[in-house]
């Protein structure tokens, strides 16, 4: 259901552009971003093109930047690396053998030599062979050496999440695994403009970053993206819709679902405040806390299975910080605790109506 709705929405270019415009004039414009004229948009592009633009800029502005991974040479299976090898040469943009632990390990070594290593893992579902390298090596590189060495130039890009037909191994949202690892930053953008600014910020951040790209939005999400080089701040959440009755928080593709739920709830007279977390670790508790202190209610939503999901961390932290102000239990609308199922995807997903029901139940608690 949500799948269809989202797809249609995408075709109409409705929600994404709107969300995008809001974010542009909202909190994230300005900080760390080269000054731009307000409203001076740039071309309308989809998310993979925005990622592609960011990679062009990253390679162009730093001769020590490299882009590599499985099939990136011809442009990548999602077209994110189109044109890079032609422009920057095969020494800086290249295919790797089909081996995720090799990609991550190679990238760490490259980054540790003072380069910007931008590695692609073709699907987040396949990141697990690289888990040891990411968790035991990348994340601890600086700490374990007492800052003698670091691999801060490392950015691992990887498409994540549902796509309508991905089944077990082309749909997962494994972000919570990485949120349990001190030393990593975990970033998930919601739209093309966000993707470009956050990716450039991630690449230039002096810490290893796992950057999850919502693959569902690669083509669906279209908005005006400034053509120039700009960055959006990490570890800064953004209120993308103001409201007074309940706070909704999510990241990546799920924000589209939440936004639709907000709009429907409004028709029923419920005013929702919607927050895009953007950076999952280290995360911006203050923005969420301030919102919940105002609304007294919180709903967290993500595609990943509910148990042990990052929503649990948010719920626990907000319960600690806002216990006196909470007027209802924190609601979680998430994926089911099953492997990601193919034909059951519409049942598995945290759909708009599931969110809407939870909004009502929480508001009427």
């Amino acid at each position: 259901m949500a799948a269809r709705a989202l797809r249609e929405a995408g075709r109409r270019r409705g929600w994404a552009a709107e969300v995008g415009r809001r974010c542009f004039s909202g909190g994230s414009a300005g900080a760390a971003v080269p000054e731009r004229k307000e409203g001076g948009g740039g071309k309308s592009v989809n998310l993979f093109t925005a990622v592609n633009q960011a990679l062009h800029i990253a390679l162009d502005t730093d001769p020590r930047a490299y882009v590599f991974g499985e099939d990136v040479g011809f442009g990548g299976v999602f077209r994110c690396t189109t044109g890079l090898a032609d422009r920057f040469g095969k020494n800086r943009v290249f295919n790797t053998p089909l081996c995720e632990q090799g990609i991550a390990g190679f990238a760490i070594g490259l980054a540790a030599m003072g380069n910007r290593a931008i590695a692609e893992i073709q699907f987040a579902d396949y990141i697990f062979p690289a888990f040891d390298q990411i968790v035991n090596e990348a994340a601890k590189f600086r700490y374990r050496s007492g800052n003698e060495f670091n691999c801060g130039g490392l950015t691992i890009r990887t498409p994540y999440g549902a796509v309508g037909h991905g089944g077990h191994y082309h749909s997962q949202s494994p972000e919570a695994f990485f949120c349990h690892v001190p030393g990593l930053k975990v970033i998930i953008p919601r739209s093309p403009r966000e993707a470009k600014g956050l990716l450039l910020a991630s690449i230039r951040d002096p810490n290893p970053v796992v950057f999850f790209e919502p693959k569902w939005l690669y083509r669906l999400s279209v908005e005006e993206v400034p053509e120039e080089d700009y960055m959006l701040p990490l570890s800064q959440a953004e209120v993308i819709r103001k409201g007074s009755d309940i706070t909704l928080i999510g990241w990546g593709a799920q924000l589209a679902v939440l936004k639709e739920a907000c709009e429907d709830a409004e028709k029923d007279g419920v005013s929702c405040e919607l927050i895009d977390l953007k950076t999952l670790i280290p995360w911006d508790k203050e923005t969420v806390e301030a919102s919940v202190k105002k609304t007294g209610k919180l709903l967290v939503s993500h595609e990943a299975p509910i148990t042990g999901g990052f929503g649990a961390e948010i719920a626990a932290s907000i319960a600690e910080r806002c216990f006196q102000r909470l007027e209802a239990p924190v609601a979680r609308v998430c994926g089911l605790d099953t492997p990601f199922p193919l034909v059951y995807e519409p049942f598995y997903m945290p759909t708009k109506n599931k969110v809407l029901d939870a909004i009502k139940a929480t508001v009427n608690y």
Binding site: Q101, G102, G105, I108, G109, Y143, R144, G183, S235, P282
Partner: protein, 482 residues
């Protein structure tokens, strides 16, 4: 080469693929192998035809995509009917592959084991006809002194652990030649990505005994700020990446580092060390394959010491050791006597030249023996015979063999030997005393270096911890400044 040619010739003579035992017995696998793989009965004709047709399809497919070189090679093999010699060979990515009529499986081994390069015999005399890299008297003596220093450091730190003064230790006993001689063959610009039994490499580069002691005691002068167990050394100044405990994870890093050196056109390579057990890890295979494909100037140095904690190599792999695996990845390699300092020095010297000049990885397998226990948490007499350990500790000791050579050159005397040993011993005891008395790193360092800057959640946790320390000071060590 000859075998391939024979195979090709044999294939030409055959009525294509249909004869079961046609042609002369080429069997290149058979040379030196006592038990050839079984020859299976010929498959029924239709299956053969299917295979054959698929072969033609492949020829067509790759002919269109192949490089100019491959196309040229195809031309010289009389491409009748446009199939590029499809009845004798096939153009396939990587080069022409000849057909053969027999169903010959590759053998599991070459029969005879790969030979081991050696310069010094057991008496420390150079083997006649052996070719090796000349070592000046100065370098030769430095090598000897550092091998002895490493041995004494191991003995004293091991004792310090036994006395409870440090929490853990791990010796390099028996592998002193590998440690020092390989280091001596490198330049300081070469990047070292160690495992954990190569402190001699760091010593050669100038890490002082005091610096070693500081790390083992985890004091305020430890570069790692007391965060890792003893022996996890690292030094940016000396291009020696900090040791991490997971096995073989440093191998892919070495490829990335080497690639960076190559892109920067540096006259340097990366070298990474690991044991026989490490070659079973996925990272070993990932790294070798990446290095070959990326043409990275990296030396993979395997210390095959026979034991991965308690697991002997017979339970680790069934290949002829490690060096053979390089071939499967397209990597040049050498097996070397790891207890022969001159052989190790020469092999690494040559490996370095090739790696840098030709932009290629090299695999070195040094045969040696872990004379000590795996670590202070291990008692190796529980799983291996004491006389085996004794044999390697005495008859095969790399230090005494090398000393014989050095003394044979009249470069060293017994007096110098005892002076060296007592001086090093004194220095080490002094270093330990200083390291032990030094303060631990302060609590604040618990929270730094997780990220380049301390994020808000960690600032908050630091404050909470400080409050708890104030309330329950007895719960916390007194030697860590708050």
């Amino acid at each position: 080469m000859a075998a391939m040619w024979l195979a090709r010739r044999a294939a030409r003579r055959l009525p294509p693929l249909l004869s079961r035992h046609g042609g002369e017995p080429t069997r290149p696998w058979f040379l030196g192998s006592t038990a050839p793989p079984p020859v299976l009965g010929s498959p029924p004709l239709p299956a053969v035809e299917r295979i054959f047709r698929r072969g033609f399809c492949s020829v067509r497919r790759f002919a269109g995509e192949s490089s100019a070189a491959a196309a040229a090679a195809a031309d010289e093999e009389e491409p009748e009917n446009g199939f590029a010699g499809g009845d004798q060979a096939i153009d396939f990515p990587g080069g022409k592959v000849s057909f053969m009529a027999e169903m010959n499986f590759l053998p599991e081994s070459h029969g005879e084991r790969i030979k081991c390069y050696r310069v010094l015999d057991d008496d420390g005399k150079t083997i006649s006809g052996s070719r090796f890299q000349e070592v000046s008297k100065e370098v030769a003596l430095k090598m000897y002194s550092e091998m002895v220093t490493l041995q004494i450091m191991d003995n004293i730190f091991y004792e310090a652990q036994r006395q409870g003064r440090i929490s853990f230790y791990l010796t390099s006993n028996g592998e002193e030649a590998i440690n020092i001689a390989s280091a001596a063959a490198l330049s300081i610009d070469d990047i070292v990505l160690p495992q954990y039994r190569e402190p001699g490499v760091l010593m050669w580069r100038g890490f002082t005994l005091q610096e070693f002691a500081n790390q083992c005691f985890g004091n305020n002068m430890d570069y790692g700020k007391g965060r890792q167990m003893p022996i996890h050394y690292g030094s940016n100044r000396l291009n020696y990446f900090t040791v991490s405990s997971p096995i073989a994870t440093q191998l892919p890093h070495a490829v990335g580092a080497a690639y960076s050196l190559k892109m920067d056109k540096k006259d340097a390579c990366a070298i990474t060390y690991f044991g026989d057990g490490g070659t079973s890890e996925g990272d070993f295979h990932a790294a070798l394959n990446f290095a070959a494909v990326m043409e990275a100037p990296v030396i993979f140095f395997c210390r095959n010491n026979g034991w991965a904690i308690s697991t002997p190599t017979t339970e680790q792999f069934r290949s002829d050791g490690v060096v053979i695996r390089g071939q499967a990845y397209g990597i040049r390699g050498i097996r070397v006597d790891g207890n022969d300092a001159l052989a190790v020095y020469s092999a690494v010297h040559a490996a370095r030249e090739m790696a840098i000049a030709e932009g290629r990885p090299i695999l070195v397998e040094a045969l040696t023996y872990r004379v000590g226990h795996h670590s202070t948490s291990d008692d190796s007499t529980k799983y291996r015979p004491v006389d085996e350990i004794e044999h390697w500790r005495t008859a095969r000791d790399p230090i005494s063999r090398y000393r014989k050579w050095v003394q044979g050159n009249d470069w060293w005397s017994d007096a110098e030997e005892s002076e060296l040993r007592s001086r090093v011993r004194k220095e080490l005891l002094q270093a330990i005393q200083v390291a032990e008395r030094m303060q631990k790193p302060p609590v604040a360092e618990l929270f730094t270096d997780v990220y380049d800057q301390v994020p808000s959640n960690l600032r908050e946790q630091e404050q909470l911890l400080r409050d708890t320390i104030m309330k329950h000071p007895a719960d916390y060590p007194t030697d860590v400044p708050v």
